[in-house]
């Protein structure tokens, strides 16, 4: 098809692109092992884990490890909700229902409306909720609200909602792709054998689509773990890791920020590796289960 020359040229181009993608990442990975006297740029002044030690004690004024734990927790919750809700919606979308068109357009809109607008809207919404609760507390003279109530914004309210508007569309689009290629004869077979709707789902549908659900989970977790724009205005008082990181880019001037970069990228890589492993495991199990040829079964 493509001539030999084209292939070689494009191969070089592709290699350069990969270098462009990974080069900077590798640079900060190397520089995070900078010696104690070393600075933000090359040359390396010795090799040490000094900056990781410094990171462990905490950088700047923020408690980076709290932020890290918050991000992990939020990422996990977003992941679970994304998998469950998009799977359910994906099943619903297999047939046309009233409002399915609108829901689809809202899904696409959520991907393409600039994040800052969504974030602003959620911030506004929670501010109005807060104002109303405070007013209600005052008119009803509920002393707890008057004395202690600050805001309903937070990690698992506004920030969770903001991130779901970003992860769920990816989840549903993956489910569309899955069910577009799904062969319904498996379900028919299960039904013919007398399985009810739940058993059909659990025994026939779920095992087939399980590997794809790992993909949805990967999207759910990593998109949440790295999310900035939508969360930025909707987070309330306690920041997630990416938000703290953005603040640190202007205040931290030593390689400990690279060490932090290496650690967070490491977490992302572990998650990706776990996802790929689970994916392969599920697929292998599926092949082993689905195929009984040569086993002498009737």
């Amino acid at each position: 098809m493509a001539s030999r020359g084209t292939k070689i040229w494009l191969g070089c181009f592709f290699f350069l692109f990969l270098l462009f993608l990974y080069g900077p990442m590798i640079t900060i990975f190397v520089l995070s092992f900078q010696g104690p006297e070393g600075g933000l740029t090359f040359p390396m002044n010795g090799v040490s884990t000094h900056w990781f030690g410094k990171l462990w004690e905490g950088v700047g004024v923020v408690d980076i490890w709290r932020a890290f734990r918050r991000s992990l927790a939020l990422g996990f919750v977003v992941m679970v909700i994304t998998v469950v809700f998009s799977l359910m919606a994906g099943l619903a979308f297999r047939r046309k229902f009233k409002g399915s068109g609108a829901l689809f357009y809202i899904t696409v809109a959520s991907l393409i409306v600039p994040s800052i607008v969504v974030s602003l809207g959620i911030a506004l919404q929670f501010r109005l909720i807060d104002d109303n609760i405070r007013q209600w507390g005052q008119t009803e003279e509920i002393s707890w609200i008057i004395e202690h109530y600050t805001t309903s914004m937070g990690l698992f309210s506004s920030a969770l909602g903001a991130q779901l508007t970003w992860t769920l569309p990816f989840g549903l689009l993956i489910m569309f792709a899955v069910f577009n290629r799904f062969d319904p004869s498996f379900e028919e077979a299960a039904r013919d054998l007398g399985a009810g709707p739940w058993a059909t789902f659990r025994e026939a549908v779920l095992p087939i689509i399980a590997p794809s659900l790992i993909g949805v989970a990967l999207f759910g977790f990593t998109l949440s773990y790295d999310e900035l724009a939508r969360t930025s205005q909707a987070i309330g008082g306690l920041n997630t890791l990416p938000l703290e990181l953005r603040g640190l880019t202007t205040t931290v001037t030593d390689p400990s920020i690279y060490a932090l970069g290496t650690v967070t990228t490491g977490v992302s890589f572990v998650v990706i590796a776990l996802a790929l492993l689970t994916f392969r495991l599920l697929q292998r199990r599926r092949l082993a289960h689905g195929n009984d040829s040569g086993k002498g079964l009737v």
């Binding site: 592709f14 462009f20 740029t41 809202i106 809207g121 109005l128 900035l228 880019t249 690279y258 992302s268």
Partner: protein, 293 residues
Amino acid sequence: MSARTSRISIYLLALPYALVFLLFFVVPLVLVVVVSFWDYTEYSIIPDFIGTNYSDIFRGCVARLPELCTAFATYVSTLKYVFLSWFITLILGFGVAYYLAFCVSSLTMQITLFLLCTIPFWTSNVIRMISWIPLLGRGGLVNQFLMNIGLVDEPVDWLLYSGFSVTLAFVHLYTLFMVVPIFNSMMRIERSVLEAAYDAGANGWQVLWNVVVPLCKPGIAIGSIFVITIVMGDFITIGVMGGQQIASIGKIINVEMSYLQFPSAAANAVILLAITLMIIVAMSRIVDIRREL
């Protein structure tokens, strides 16, 4: 299971998903539009129906033309980055997708290389931005190299915290959004179509331009929509990579929110949304997105 209970169960299945979007997307967007007409003081926002939030943005803009007022200058600057990022990611993304789709013959290799391209997408954007500092800074690798070969005597300043680094970061972060949909389109092209074109006497460029590109239109449109909308509303990349010196519409909204000027921020958001939607409507004329999944 009767038809009715099955219909109800479909609604129940879609309900949680729909509720999330109602609560955290539809209602907030409606609020943005509503509040953009509200009044505000330093510490509170007041329900009203006024147009001053909009007129304030463009105060004196028309009178001062052809000189650009702050608002127009910001729009022009934002659109400049949108165009640059779009154009460069399109060229790069198309090239990468073409290589993956047509030059790599084994499926395993295709999947491996494709995964290599996508892995950075799952890592932190901020980290990917700051990873340019040791390369582009005053004492960075690029400057060291340029001085070593004697091309410049003093470190070059415009590499970092400049329009250049902002564009570079956008390209670095978002080329993948072009690669994936274009690759998807290319994989659907029947190989026999290309062979037919060659057999009919077309040369490589003619096949590329008259067969491959038209068949990739949907992928190109989807990728373009992604890149354009992300860059349109960006304030983080422009902030970090521009050294907080470059204006964008997203950044205006961000700053106004930090001063709690919600109605004014909302008015800017409505304008941003309107511009973005106009661009998308223009693009979606070309393609039916749902058919492409």
